[in-house]
């Protein structure tokens, strides 16, 4: 299985070299995409320097933390997003007759992927850490990568959940788009700006707040007035990520059984 995975990355990198112009255009898009988000934040916060006690530097760090987890997800698990397409075109059935785990096969469909977004994200994260004056001690060095990995798993849980829905409903494009853009909108600001009900949802039901808000509270030593939380909650992100992934993987298995059951 590991051998197959190495081969998969080799193919990806080789295809990337083949389609250089296309690669450059998409890389430019990745830069513009994050640039627009940060640009909008910068312009807004020049006018309004404080967002519930967070300044622009801290907001930058909050964004960079989300961005790195998200781009790690995109680099490793992006194919999950294509599952509805595989199902619609009937290509998914192929995975079921082969003697490897279906999810693993989905993840290793060559797709001209190159971890350019991830490299950009790591650079942004390193810059943001210095820019926001985060204290880099051993806890940070150990937990920052773990938190990012946990964030990627939370992301994977979401995309796997949406992909699984496509076993029942054929068209899930809009659902996917909505979930993705909501994730971006809700993770962009400190969740303390939301009402209690929404904070509960973002913590327990769709745990986006663990991707960046709670860890950022810990790393930046932010006081969360009115929320009565232990700042160490942010260090739970890796565990939440794993748990969330297992829940969605179980849902995926249910979906697979249903898919095979109907024979559709």
């Amino acid at each position: 299985m590991l051998g197959a995975y190495v081969q998969y990355w080799r193919t990806n990198l080789l295809t990337m070299l083949e389609y250089r112009a296309n690669f450059i255009m998409w890389f430019a898009f990745t830069i513009v995409y994050h640039g627009v988000a940060l640009g909008a934040l910068y312009v807004t916060m020049r006018q309004f320097p404080s967002m519930n006690g967070w300044d622009f530097r801290q907001m930058f760090f909050l964004y960079a933390l989300w961005m790195t987890g998200h781009e790690l997800h995109n680099a490793l698990f992006f194919n999950v997003v294509s599952v509805p397409e595989f199902v619609r075109e009937g290509r998914f059935d192929r995975f079921l007759v082969r003697p490897l785990d279906a999810l693993f096969q989905v993840l290793t469909v060559p797709a001209q992927l190159f971890p350019d977004g991830l490299i950009l994200a790591i650079a942004t994260f390193v810059f943001a850490t210095a820019y926001a004056h985060v204290r880099v001690d051993w806890i940070f060095c150990v937990f920052a990568p773990l938190v990012i990995a946990g964030g990627a798993l939370i992301d994977l849980g979401i995309s796997l959940g949406v992909a699984t829905v496509s076993f029942w409903f054929v068209r899930v494009d809009t659902l996917r788009w909505v979930v993705m853009s909501l994730e971006q909108d809700f993770t962009r600001y400190p969740i303390s700006i939301y009402t209690r009900g929404v904070r509960v949802v973002l913590t327990f039901i769709l745990p986006f707040a663990f991707m960046n808000f709670f860890p950022a509270v810990y790393f930046l030593h932010k006081a969360t007035t009115g929320m009565q939380i232990d700042p160490r909650l942010g260090l739970l992100t890796p565990a939440i990520g794993l748990g969330w992934f297992f829940v969605s993987y179980a849902f995926w298995q249910v979906g697979l059984r249903h898919y095979q059951g109907t024979g559709s």
Binding site: M25, V32, T174, F186, Y189, Y194
Partner: protein, 267 residues
């Protein structure tokens, strides 16, 4: 009479596009749902920002929430890319046979886009109803509302031609999707859809007002919330008309060059 008969097929195209869009009911529902959530986010965001900072001149909190909500409702209409068909038809090659039909293709694309737009315009009603449960929207006097509508119409047309040009790039290279996404993302920020262009500082501020994107969202919205005063209505509309003419002219040239290209290639 003759003119009416001339437009008849295009009305039919628009109706067909409308019906086609209406078949994806679940998609339509999710769109309204996501808009409502966005209204909630913008209310939380601007309320938090205004609570702890000095309000900018001329735009109190209720004005800002009105601006952001109306911008969202406008995006229901403006984010429909009616000319996406061009790219698809070029990729499939069916553009060649379409060029032989006795119709004006650009007008066909426009009417198809209008049909799609009308369905999405219907969505404004339920979306607005739901949004009103969450936020209060200021309603300006009738004269302002009328000028806003006119300015919005101009913005719609400018947006159509920008999309048209983006999709027409496909005549030369098929890898246009990335370019299109880049332009779309940049224009989200520079058109004033996400934040009012009046927030941009100094030179940057003057620059963004000088770009064509401002004609799409910013002008109608600033008229709506009253930042563009009555005295500046005419000049603002004139600038929009200027951009419209410029892009329509450019689209005309590009289309001529493009159709010649298809013919030369023997398509």
């Amino acid at each position: 009479m003759i003119a009416a008969r001339h437009f008849e097929p295009y009305v039919e195209f628009a109706k067909k596009a409308f019906a086609r869009e209406a078949t994806y009911r679940l998609e339509v529902l999710t769109e309204v749902g996501s808009l409502v959530l966005r209204v909630y986010i913008l209310r939380s965001l601007w309320t938090a920002l205004y609570a702890q900072n000095l309000a900018p001149i001329g735009l109190p909190l209720h004005g800002m929430i009105t601006y952001a909500t109306v911008a969202l409702l406008m995006s229901l209409i403006l984010e429909v890319d009616g000319t996406r068909l061009i790219r698809e038809k070029i990729r499939e090659g069916s553009i060649a046979t379409d060029l032989m039909k006795p119709i004006s293709l650009p007008t066909y694309f426009f009417s198809d886009g209008v049909g799609q737009t009308l369905l999405h315009a219907l969505l404004v009603v339920p979306s607005l109803a739901c949004a009103l449960l969450l936020v209060h929207i200021d309603v300006p006097p009738p004269a302002t509302l009328a000028v806003f509508a006119l300015s919005f119409l101009l913005g719609y047309c400018v947006n159509f031609f920008i999309n048209f040009l983006m999709n027409a790039i496909a005549f030369w290279t098929l890898e246009t999707f990335a370019i299109q996404m880049i332009v779309r993302w940049v224009s989200d920020l520079l058109s004033g859809q996400i934040i009012p262009l009046t927030f941009f500082p100094g030179v940057l501020g003057r620059l963004v007002f000088g770009l064509p994107f401002a004609a799409v969202y910013s002008t109608p919205l600033l008229i709506y919330v009253g930042i563009i005063p009555r005295t500046a209505w005419m000049p603002s509309l004139e600038i929009q008309c200027g951009w419209l003419l410029a892009f329509a002219g450019l689209s005309h040239l590009v289309w001529r060059a493009a159709s010649r290209r298809v013919v030369i290639q023997g398509g």
